[in-house]
């Protein structure tokens, strides 16, 4: 085991303290101005942002119809195992879409390389950027990145106006303190490393789908 308590720590801290004896100048603070325009219609903004960042947003009337919506989505996905966050809600939902599909529940370990899709919940939805905030509790770290399709089952009650509200929410609820991992996901995996041309599905999912229940 390499040493964690190390001599350099004190040396670096001492140098920092000596360096900071003289304060640095700072740019004049101007009067506080609004940096972002306030987000008013949460659902409308979320849907618009999903279009921009290439998230598929499937609207359903209520949570009970989520099973049917997931079944329709899975019909277009090649046969193979589906990785699902082990939660009472998603267990209940599975009956409606399973239809002979093999399921790996998150309680049985992380997703396998061959899994075809992940179904999970999320902590918060962010209207400002059309993002989905997941924690390690939403099926683990690999859930939202290994499979080529990620289906998020959520309700409009999870919508918050902006990133600031989303971070405040997960902090207040103790999710930040309890989780070793959180990820604010905005659209599916992409790269523009070849000639700045946008290509979807670099290392993570090619498709991110939010099944969003109105109630």
């Amino acid at each position: 085991m390499p040493q964690t308590e190390n001599a350099s720590r004190e040396k670096i801290l001492a140098r920092i303290r000596t360096a900071l004896r003289e304060p640095a100048p700072r740019h004049e603070r101007s009067e506080a101005r609004a940096i972002f325009a306030p987000v008013t219609d949460l659902l409308d903004r979320f849907q618009k942002e999903c279009t921009i960042n290439i998230t598929e947003c499937v609207m359903i009337p209520d949570s009970r119809s989520a099973g049917t919506a997931v079944r329709d989505l899975l019909a277009a996905i090649p046969p193979g195992e589906i990785f699902v966050q082990d939660s009472p809600d998603l267990r209940q939902l599975a009956a409606a879409w399973q239809d002979g599909r093999e399921i790996q529940w998150s309680s049985e370990g992380g997703p396998k390389e061959a899994s075809q899709a992940t179904i999970s919940g999320c902590e918060v939805l962010v209207a400002q950027t059309g993002s989905v905030l997941v924690s390690a509790a939403c099926g683990g770290r690999g859930a939202s990145v290994v499979a080529p399709v990620h289906i998020v089952v959520a309700t409009v009650a999870q919508l918050v106006p902006d990133i600031s509200a989303a971070l405040a929410r997960v902090q207040e609820r103790g999710i930040v303190a309890q989780s070793s991992y959180l990820c604010l996901i905005t659209g599916s995996s992409r790269t523009a490393d070849i000639e700045k041309i946008l290509v979807m599905g670099a290392h993570g999912p090619r498709r991110l789908i939010v099944v969003l229940a109105m109630s």
Binding site: I12, V176, S189, T191, E195
Partner: protein
């Protein structure tokens, strides 16, 4: 002139005449500009955002010891190991020893400029550990055995054909230059590595003091795979990366994305604090954070340039810089190219050897305007020039030249007499046919520009004559 300066000049001359290079870079930067313009429009007030980011980083840097200790304590409470490294050697040694003591054969690496700075990959390879770069751009330059060209888009200088040829040679069985297909080829190749790597190495865009978490920004998802699948995760970050609060990310994330690529926010804004918890599904068993100084605390002591440590490595100043666009990222021969590299490198690697970079600028100020944390880049270049003249070695001819200049400029009569002598000497030299010969007094100038013909009369003489006529 230092060797680094000679090399810089040689490569710059070569690159600025390379028309293909010019075309590729122009296209890349045009696309960036369009996206960046659109991205800034999403802010009600981009200038207020820059100001606020400046204030966040100012607060962090000017209380650096306090925030680092807070970060360390909270990260340790979450089960992270925190190691402080004074320099490259110490950081490399810690990570290499960790890898060998844990029986690691393969490391999957997410993009990290600090890892480039400390030359981590060669150190691990020397210890017999295979290192796989997993960011697509980094993977491409690694296959080419090249350093990254740009801090955000490492393979910016290559065409799809270059990349197709490279994949054909190194990976075989590639018969396309379609970017979609090429990305799929890399995805397939790297999947095997993600699932077999025992250690993942990442950088950190921010170290969040009040939460003890690191924030990692990626688009491809490779950073997430590197930090989720292997049994050990090592995050490497400069000490200047700390920020006070989790809430600060509500602004820093969108600003970094906008300045970096023009996106409203990057695809994956990840927060990692500690190894997998007992009730969690997956994640590494061990999480190590290496905090690197490597000259940063000395730069912190330079009050005038302390704000250079505010840099969030977005690459905006590279894209804005006419010199970067002309000479390209590799000509600098430094880890950090472009304006921020020209300011920072003399601090990290010595002003004497790298003072020439202070002159690799037209001082147009485009870098300063583009900086999302308001670093006064072009004035720092001027300060480095001043410091170089005061402290470092300059040729004696330059020193004497400026002494004479100073003496001349301090008196109107000296200026008139010496100006007249100089004008006469230049006209005589021209009449004697010395233009372009080693004896040409305008030699250094006319090497790169057409030398102007010296007029018979001075400006002052003409002014006097014309005013008298009126």
């Amino acid at each position: 002139m230092s060797t680094a300066a000679q090399e810089f000049l040689r490569r710059s001359i070569e690159k600025s005449a390379d028309l293909t290079h010019k075309q590729i870079i122009r296209r890349g930067i045009d696309q960036y500009n369009t996206a960046n313009d659109r991205g800034r429009m999403r802010f009600a007030d981009w200038e207020a955002a820059r100001q606020r980011c400046h204030e966040i980083k100012w607060e962090a840097l000017n209380n650096l010891d306090r925030y680092l200790l807070e970060f360390e304590q909270r990260a340790k409470e979450r089960g992270a190991h925190v190691f402080w490294a004074e320099n490259s050697a110490e950081a490399c040694r810690y990570i290499t020893e960790l890898a060998t003591s844990r029986g690691v054969h393969k490391v999957v690496k997410s993009k990290s400029m600090v890892a480039e700075e400390i030359h981590l990959t060669p150190a691990l390879e020397k210890a017999g550990v295979q290192v796989v770069e997993t960011d697509l751009g980094e993977y491409i330059v690694q296959l080419r055995d090249e350093p990254p060209y740009h801090i955000v888009t490492p393979a910016m200088h290559l065409t799809r054909k270059d990349i197709a040829d490279l994949f054909k040679e190194k990976l075989g069985d590639v018969d396309t230059d379609d970017p979609v297909e090429l990305v799929a080829v890399a995805r397939r190749a790297l999947r095997r590595d993600f699932f077999s790597g025992e250690m993942g190495i990442s950088g950190a865009n921010f170290l969040v003091a009040d939460s003890g978490m690191i924030a990692l920004t990626t688009n491809e998802g490779n950073g997430r795979l590197c930090t989720s699948l292997p049994r050990i995760h090592v995050a490497l970050a400069g000490i200047e990366k700390v920020i006070p609060k989790l809430q600060d990310l509500a602004l820093l994330w969108p600003v970094l994305a906008t300045a970096g690529t023009g996106q409203p926010i990057t695809c994956y804004s990840t927060l990692i604090g500690g190894p997998r918890k007992p009730n969690e599904v997956d994640g590494p068993e061990e999480f190590h954070i290496v905090l690197l100084d490597n000259g940063r605390s000395e730069l912190l002591a330079d009050v005038e340039q302390r704000d250079v440590l505010h840099c969030i490595r977005c690459g905006a100043c590279l894209n804005a810089c006419p010199v970067f666009r002309t000479v390209g990222g590799h000509s600098y021969g430094t880890t950090y190219p472009g304006p921020i590299g020209s300011v920072l490198t003399p601090h990290l690697r010595g002003l004497n050897e790298f003072q020439h970079l202070s002159y690799a600028s037209s001082l147009c100020g485009a870098c300063t305007d583009s900086c999302p944390v308001k670093i006064d880049l072009h004035h720092h270049l001027l300060e480095n020039r001043r410091n170089a003249v005061n402290g470092a070695e300059r040729p004696w001819s330059e020193r004497i030249g400026f002494k004479i200049w100073q003496w001349t400029m301090q008196s109107a009569s000296r200026f008139r007499i010496l100006g007249g002598l100089a004008r006469a000497a230049l006209r005589v030299a021209h009449r004697l046919g010395l233009d372009g010969t080693p004896l040409d007094p305008m030699g250094p100038w006319s090497k790169n520009h057409a030398a102007p013909r010296v007029p018979k009369k001075s400006f002052r003489a003409l002014w006097g004559k014309n005013n008298a006529a009126n």
